[in-house]
């Protein structure tokens, strides 16, 4: 009984708190942190595989916790709670509205993880997407509004794509709950079409390459706790969507698998490369998230190609996701921390150490969760793909680690060199939240190992350790050489890369809309009336009518008509004898 209560309470609690914002805004703000606790409790208390049925809600929803759900729930609850804690100190203006959107997004995120049926999943997915719009636009600066507009447009497109895909899948598979999906729906009728719709729909949320344009705009614009959550937890929703909907571990879909891998690899490399050129540190982190998501897309692609590898690859994905969530969250939170806000001496050194740990971990430095995750991913993928692909993968991983190291170096350099604009020192909560998150990052290798024992042996082998250290050393060496050359031209590429293409497209649509509406008004009734009926026609028509009427009245005409009728009717009856 307790499980079902917890399962429901985890997503209901934030909703209820958001509702209280109407009556007591200050109370909601205070209780912001506690909203995530039922979720966290669910992670520890609810055994995997338990579920609860709510037939009344929507079209009969089921909440439950399976292996994938458990993994993601853990990382999501942690990052949401810490982000909430951080926001307590960080957010000063329009707290209640931020609190409401934050809680709604949190409830959406928890709900979609727990949902075991499509409709419930879609409900919470939509709730999360729309609520996070409020977070993105919280600063109300022009960049935030622009980012918000791009974000909402893509969200709507995502929603619609997911809806159509979901409708197709639901009917072809005959059921709405994930468990009973057969895998044959893809082959039926227009299964491929719906598969593609789902891929694109969740791709937008997961930042798959062609549709990632909103990420580099939204994350910098959002306040730091929001962007931490956005990048840490919400971006994973797309991944969860893929895992839930697509026939993982059932039918072999080599074609789709190849697409996934291709796009994943492209993102993996190009995003990282583009990220290095970013001046804004948050944009830089956004691009690094895109590249990391690219890796996970490749993992999903592998599962699609080799269905039976799912049991191995999924844990790797979970590990990598957890690692990425914590590091990325810590990095984003650290953006609000400034070294010289801290009194000099031991505390400043401690902060600088703590500031350095997450980048290293993300770059996959030895003994960090990044290294564990990367080796696990390498081992997991290699177990299931052909040797030739394996070498390609190794090369990719190497390049990526180099690029990520470069990213991290630039990030640290920008953090330490440029003191951010005069920003009044954040509250104590921000420091504490950030500190705990970095602590988690530090102990995460142990956590991962305990949760996923299989990783221990491999990650400690010498080869793995070396392969994790050399990229960092090489990059830091190059960086050290370049950093004090003042002549050095540091490239600054704009945040949105493919955005200008889309803008062209929207211009086109807008132009078409204007023309068609002008045409519609043109062909409207009163235009036609003016066209065909000359202005004074009414008047002439009336006078004509009156003339004929008066002429009819004349006696002679009347006589003519009278006699005419006489003859006409006799004629008519004449032949009828």
């Amino acid at each position: 009984m307790i499980h079902s209560v917890l399962l429901i309470l985890s997503w209901l609690m934030p909703l209820l708190l958001a509702a209280t914002a109407i009556i007591a805004p200050r109370l909601t703000w205070k209780a912001l942190v506690f909203a995530g606790f039922p979720g966290l409790a669910a992670v520890f208390l609810v055994p995997v595989g338990s579920s609860v049925e709510v037939p009344v809600l929507l079209l009969g929803t089921r909440f439950g916790l399976d292996q994938v759900g458990m993994g993601f729930l853990f990382l999501t609850t942690v990052i949401w709670i810490l982000a909430a804690w951080h926001a307590k100190g960080y957010i000063t203006t329009r707290r209640s509205s931020f609190g409401v959107y934050f809680l709604l997004a949190m409830s959406g995120n928890f709900g979609l993880i727990l949902a075991q049926d499509m409709v419930g999943f879609y409900l919470f997915f939509a709730l999360m997407s729309f609520a996070s719009y409020g977070l993105v636009i919280h600063e109300r600066t022009p960049e935030a509004r622009y980012a918000g507009k791009v974000y909402i447009v893509l969200v709507i497109i995502g929603e619609v794509l997911i809806f159509s895909g979901m409708a197709g899948v639901g009917t072809l598979a005959g059921t709405t709950s994930f468990a009973q999906f057969g895998e044959d729906w893809v082959s039926q009728g227009r299964g491929a079409l719906f598969f593609g719709a789902l891929f694109l729909g969740f791709g937008i949320k997961a930042g798959a390459l062609p549709l990632h344009v909103w990420l580099p705009l939204a994350h910098p614009a959002a306040p730091t706790p929001a962007s931490a959550v956005l990048s840490g937890a919400m971006i994973k929703a797309g991944l969860i969507g893929w895992l839930r909907f697509l026939p993982i571990g059932d039918a072999a879909l080599p074609g789709w698998g190849a697409i996934y891998i291709g796009i994943g690899a492209l993102a993996f490399i190009a995003a990282a490369l583009y990220g290095c050129m970013q001046a804004n540190s948050k944009a830089l982190l956004a691009y690094s998230s895109i590249s990391k998501m690219g890796l996970m897309t490749m993992a999903v692609g592998v599962i699609l190609v080799e269905p039976d590898s799912a049991t191995v690859v999924i844990p790797c994905i979970l590990v990598f996701a957890t690692h990425h969530c914590f590091c990325k969250g810590a990095l984003f939170l650290s953006v609000s921390i400034n070294r010289n806000d801290v009194s000099p001496g031991l505390r400043r050194w401690l902060t600088t150490f703590l500031l350095l740990v997450p980048p290293l971990s993300l770059a996959g430095f030895a003994l960090t969760s990044g290294e564990v995750a990367k080796t696990m991913m390498k081992v997991g993928l290699s177990a299931s793909i052909s040797v030739k692909a394996l070498t390609g993968l190794a090369v990719l991983l190497a390049i990526n680690s180099l690029l990520t190291a470069g990213l991290m170096f630039r990030f640290c350099w920008q953090r330490f060199k440029h003191s951010p604009h005069a920003h009044q020192p954040p509250g104590a909560a921000t420091f504490l939240a950030w500190g705990t998150l970095v602590g988690i990052v530090i102990i995460s290798p142990l956590l991962l190992v305990t949760f996923y024992p299989v990783t221990l042996g491999k990650s400690l082998s010498i080869g793995a350790l070396w392969s994790s250290i050399w990229p960092v050393l090489v990059v830091s060496a190059i960086g050290a050489v370049l950093v004090n050359r003042s002549w050095l031209f540091v490239p600054r590429w704009p945040a949105g890369d493919m955005l200008f293409l889309y803008l062209l497209l929207t211009r086109l649509i807008e132009w078409f809309g204007r023309v068609s509406s002008r045409f519609a008004t043109a062909v409207s009734v009163d235009f036609l009336r003016k066209l065909f009926i000359p202005p004074k026609a009414g008047y002439h028509f009336k006078s004509l009518l009156r003339q004929t009427e008066s002429r009819l009245g004349m006696a002679t005409v009347f006589g003519l008509v009278f006699i005419g009728l006489l003859t006409l009717s006799t004629y008519l009856l004449f032949e009828h004898i």
Binding site: A555, G559, F562
Partner: protein, 101 residues
């Protein structure tokens, strides 16, 4: 060409002449005259058809009808003449005692 046919045709012609007179004359008195002639035409036709020859007795029913017709025609004409008189007396636009404009 029996008596009945001759008088019937005369009656019919009178009827037509009365109608033509009614149509081509715009003055009201002329129209009253034309109407009377039309009526006489009809009555002539009726009585002609009622005539059964020198020796036989004529059919009295048409005679009765014609008598009624004459009286009705006369009263209608009288009313018409009276209205003509009143119309001449009331000048246009003179609102003698009508209730609207």
């Amino acid at each position: 060409m029996t008596v009945a046919l001759l008088y019937s045709i005369t009656g019919f012609l009178l009827f037509l002449m009365g109608i033509c007179g009614l149509i081509f004359r715009s003055s009201l008195i002329r129209r009253a005259l034309a109407l009377n002639i039309t009526a006489s035409g009809i009555f002539l036709f009726i009585v002609a058809q009622a005539y059964k020859g020198e020796s036989a007795l004529p059919d009295p029913v048409p005679h009765g009808l014609v008598l009624t017709g004459i009286v009705i025609g006369a009263s209608a004409t009288a009313l018409m003449i009276y209205l003509i008189g009143v119309l001449r007396y009331v000048s246009p636009g003179d609102n003698d005692s009508g209730e609207e404009e």
